[in-house]
C-alpha cells in the first residue's frame, strides 16, 4: 500500500516539476522581453525590471572581524527593505573565504536579478572572476574591504581601508613606545592578500629609515593567532631581552603574541596589530596590551550602502571611499568595546 502511495507521489512530483519548469522558463522570457521594451521608471534601477534588488556576498561568516560587518549589513538592508528604498536583498551569502564559492554566489546574484552587489573578496586575484562575472551581467558592483585585480576598471566603487596607513600606524606605535629601539618581529597575514602586502609596505615605510630598529624577520602566520603565539615564543627563545616588539598584520595575532609574551613574564614586549576585534580590545582595556589599530569594518559596509542609496536617488557616486583607521588605547577603548 505504502509503496503504491509513494509511487503515485513520485509521479505527481515529476509532473509538477515538469509543469513548473516549463511555465517558469516561459514566464522568464516574457518578462525579459517586456522589460527591455519599456524604459525604467525607477531611478537607479540598473537592469530595468522595475525592482531594486541588492546582493551581499560576504567573505565568510565566522571570522570575528567579519561577523559585525555582516550583522551591520543585515540590519541596514532589512531596514531599507522595510522603508521601501529597495525591494529585496539576497541575505548574507556565505563566501566561505573561498573564491570558488564566491563565484557561485555571484551566479546566484545574477539569477536573482540583482541591481547592486556588495562583495568582500576572499582573494585579490581569484575572487576577481566573481566581480567580473557580475559586471559582465550588467550589475553594479561595490567592492568592500580589499580590492580585486580589476576592481579599479570594472567595479562601480571601492570602499575600504587604507592599509598602507594602517601599517604606518603600527610602526609608529612601536617607535613611540620602545624608546631605545631594538629588535622586532613581523607576523604576516596570508601571503598575497592585499591587506598583508599593503600593511607590510606601511611598516617598511617607517622602519627602513629607522636605525634604532632591526627586523628579525617576517613570519607568514596566515592571520592565525596560534601561529603568531608560536613565533612570539620562538623569538623570545632566540633573542631574549633584545626582542622589543612584535608587529602583527591583524590583532588576533598580536593579542595572542602579547599573551604569549605576558605568560613568559615579558610584558615589556610591545605587540600591536590591526582590526579591533573584541578580544584584543578587552586586553587593551585590562591593560594587558598597549594598543590596537581598529579597522572600522561596519563603517566600510555603511559607506558601500550609502553609495547604493545615493545611486538610487540619482546622485553622483564616488569611485573610491577610504575609511580611516582608529588607534585604540586605554583612553578610548570604551567607545569601541561593546
Amino acid at each position: 500500500m505504502k509503496r503504491k502511495m509513494l509511487s503515485v507521489l513520485l509521479c505527481a512530483a515529476l509532473v509538477v516539476v515538469m509543469a513548473t519548469g516549463c511555465g517558469g522558463s516561459d514566464k522568464k522570457e516574457e518578462g525579459g522581453k517586456s522589460s527591455k521594451g519599456e524604459t525604467s521608471e525607477v531611478v537607479g534601477d540598473v537592469n530595468g525590471d522595475g525592482k531594486i534588488m541588492c546582493g551581499y556576498i560576504s567573505k565568510n561568516i565566522v571570522d570575528p572581524f567579519h561577523a559585525p560587518i555582516n550583522d551591520y549589513a543585515k540590519k541596514t538592508f532589512d531596514a531599507l527593505k522595510k522603508d521601501g528604498t529597495i525591494d529585496d536583498w539576497t541575505g548574507i551569502l556565505d563566501g566561505e573565504t573561498d573564491a570558488n564559492k564566491q563565484i557561485d554566489r555571484a551566479d546566484e546574484c545574477i539569477a536573482k536579478n540583482c541591481d547592486y552587489v556588495i562583495i568582500l573578496p576572499a582573494e585579490a586575484s581569484s575572487s576577481d572572476a566573481a566581480v567580473t562575472k557580475l559586471t559582465d551581467a550588467g550589475i553594479k558592483v561595490i567592492v568592500v574591504n580589499s580590492k580585486t585585480d580589476s576592481t579599479d576598471d570594472v567595479a562601480m566603487a571601492y570602499v575600504g581601508p587604507d592599509d598602507v596607513k594602517a601599517g604606518e600606524m603600527l610602526a609608529q606605535w612601536v617607535i613611540d613606545n620602545v624608546s631605545d629601539g631594538g629588535k622586532y618581529a613581523h607576523c604576516q597575514g596570508v601571503i598575497g592578500n592585499s591587506a598583508q602586502i599593503q600593511r607590510g609596505e606601511g611598516i617598511e615605510n617607517l622602519m627602513k629609515d629607522n636605525d634604532k630598529f632591526e627586523s628579525v624577520g617576517d613570519f607568514p602566520c596566515e592571520w592565525q593567532a596560534d601561529k603568531a603565539a608560536n613565533v612570539a615564543t620562538d623569538m623570545m627563545n632566540q633573542y631574549g631581552d633584545d626582542l622589543k616588539a612584535i608587529i602583527c598584520d591583524n590583532d588576533d595575532m598580536s593579542s595572542a603574541a602579547q599573551k604569549a609574551c605576558n605568560d613568559a613574564g615579558r610584558s615589556d614586549i610591545v605587540c600591536v596589530g590591526v582590526d579591533g576585534n573584541e578580544n584584543p580590545l578587552q586586553m587593551v582595556k585590562d591593560g594587558e596590551m598597549g594598543a590596537t589599530v581598529l579597522q572600522d569594518g561596519p563603517a566600510q559596509v555603511e559607506g558601500a550602502i550609502d553609495l547604493i542609496k545615493k545611486a538610487l536617488k540619482g546622485e553622483e557616486t564616488e569611485k573610491e571611499v577610504m575609511i580611516p583607521f582608529v588607534l585604540i588605547t586605554k583612553d578610548n577603548v570604551d567607545e569601541y568595546l561593546k
Binding site: 509511487s7 517558469g24 563565484i103 546566484e108 539569477a111 572572476a129 601571503i191
Partner: protein, 325 residues
C-alpha cells in the same frame, strides 16, 4: 489516472523495487527541486539550472573518484590538496614558464594521477589504512603546492585558459560537457568493465576476490589513480574558474565529495555504489547551496541545514529500502 499507474507498477513490481533500492535518492532530489521552485521561482529558470550544473562539475569529478575509493573500503582525503597542486603547477607553467595550455594541463593532470598511483601503491602494496595514507599525502601534496607557488597567488591572465570554464558549446558550458562525458565513462567503467567488477569484488569481500584471482594491488592502484586523475580535471576547471593559481584552495572539498557519495548510496562497508546515485548526490549538494541562497535562508543556518538534509536523505533512503526489500 492513479489507478492506471498502480496497475503498471503492479506489473513491474520487482523492477520497481530494484529501482527504488538503487535510486530512491532520486525521489528526494525531485522533492527538493519541487520544494525550492515553490519557494523561489527563479530557481527553476534554465539559466539557474545551467549554473548549478556548472558549479557542481568540480565536486562531481572529486566525488566520482571518492566513490571508487569508498567502494573498495577506502577513502581519498588527498583530493582537496590535489586541486591546489594542479592549480599551482598550471600557474607556474602557463604564467611564468610560458608553456602552451594543453601541455601544461597534461603535465598537471599527470602529476595528480601520479600522486593517485602513489596513494594506491601505499594502500595496496603495504596494506596501510587509506585514511592514514591519504591524510599524510594530503599534507605532502599541499606542501608541494606551496613550494611551487612560493605561497603567492599566481594570476593566469591567458584568456584561452579562462575559456575552459566559460566557453559554451551549443549553449552548454564546457564544464557541463566534461561532467556528462566523465559521468558516462565512469558509468561504463564501474558497471560494464572487468575493472568495475573487480572494484566491487575487492570492496565486497577482499579475500574472496583474492581467491578468485583478482589482483588487489592492481585494482586499488587503479582506483586511486583514477581518483587522482579526476581530481586533476577538477583542478583544471577550478583554476580556469578563478583564473588564479593558489596553494590554499580546495580545503575541505573532500567533505562535500564524501557527502555526495553517501547520499548516492555508496556504502562505507564497501562493494556498493552506483554512478547515477552519486550523480544525484552531487546535485542534491549543489541544490542545497543554490536553493538556500536563492530562498534567502540565513547563512548561519545553512551548514546546519546541509547536515540535517544529508542525514534525513540517507535515513529516508534506508527506510524506503527496508520497506521495498
Amino acid at each position: 489516472m492513479a489507478k492506471e499507474k498502480e496497475k503498471i507498477l503492479g506489473m513491474d513490481g520487482d523492477k520497481f523495487r530494484m529501482f527504488m533500492g538503487k535510486y530512491g535518492i532520486g525521489v528526494i532530489l525531485v522533492l527538493m527541486m519541487v520544494f525550492i521552485s515553490f519557494m523561489e521561482p527563479s530557481f527553476r529558470s534554465a539559466s539557474n539550472m545551467i549554473n548549478v550544473a556548472t558549479q557542481v562539475s568540480i565536486n562531481a569529478m572529486i566525488a566520482y573518484g571518492m566513490c571508487l575509493a569508498i567502494t573498495t573500503e577506502g577513502i581519498d582525503l588527498s583530493v582537496g590538496a590535489q586541486l591546489a597542486l594542479v592549480s599551482c603547477i598550471l600557474g607556474q607553467l602557463i604564467s611564468n614558464k610560458g608553456w602552451s595550455i594543453p601541455l601544461a594541463i597534461l603535465a598537471a593532470v599527470l602529476v595528480s594521477t601520479l600522486w593517485g598511483v602513489i596513494n594506491g601503491l601505499l594502500i595496496s602494496k603495504f596494506n596501510m589504512f587509506p585514511f592514514v595514507v591519504t591524510l599524510s599525502t594530503q599534507l605532502i601534496i599541499r606542501g608541494l603546492a606551496q613550494l611551487i607557488s612560493g605561497g603567492q597567488a599566481i594570476p593566469i591572465t591567458d584568456a584561452a585558459f579562462k575559456r575552459i570554464y566559460s566557453t559554451k558549446i551549443a549553449a552548454v558550458p564546457f564544464p557541463i560537457l566534461v561532467l556528462i562525458l566523465v559521468t558516462v565513462l565512469m558509468y561504463l567503467l564501474l558497471h560494464w568493465t572487468k575493472l568495475g567488477r573487480y572494484i566491487f569484488a575487492v570492496g565486497d569481500n577482499m579475500n574472496a576476490a583474492i581467491a578468485s584471482g583478482v589482483s588487489v594491488i592492481k585494482t586499488k592502484t587503479a582506483v586511486y589513480a583514477i581518483s587522482g586523475f579526476l581530481a586533476g580535471i577538477a583542478g583544471v576547471i577550478f583554476t580556469a574558474k578563478t583564473a588564479s593559481a593558489q596553494s590554499n584552495i580546495g580545503i575541505g572539498y573532500e567533505t562535500d565529495a564524501v557527502a555526495a557519495c553517501v547520499l548516492g548510496g555508496t556504502s562505507f562497508a564497501g562493494g556498493v555504489a552506483t554512478i547515477p546515485g552519486v550523480l544525484m548526490g552531487i546535485f542534491i549538494i549543489g541544490f542545497i547551496y543554490n536553493g538556500m541562497n536563492l530562498i534567502g535562508i540565513d547563512s548561519y543556518y545553512q551548514s546546519m541545514t546541509k547536515g540535517a538534509v544529508i542525514i534525513g536523505a540517507v535515513l529516508l533512503d534506508m527506510v524506503m529500502n527496508k520497506k521495498t526489500n
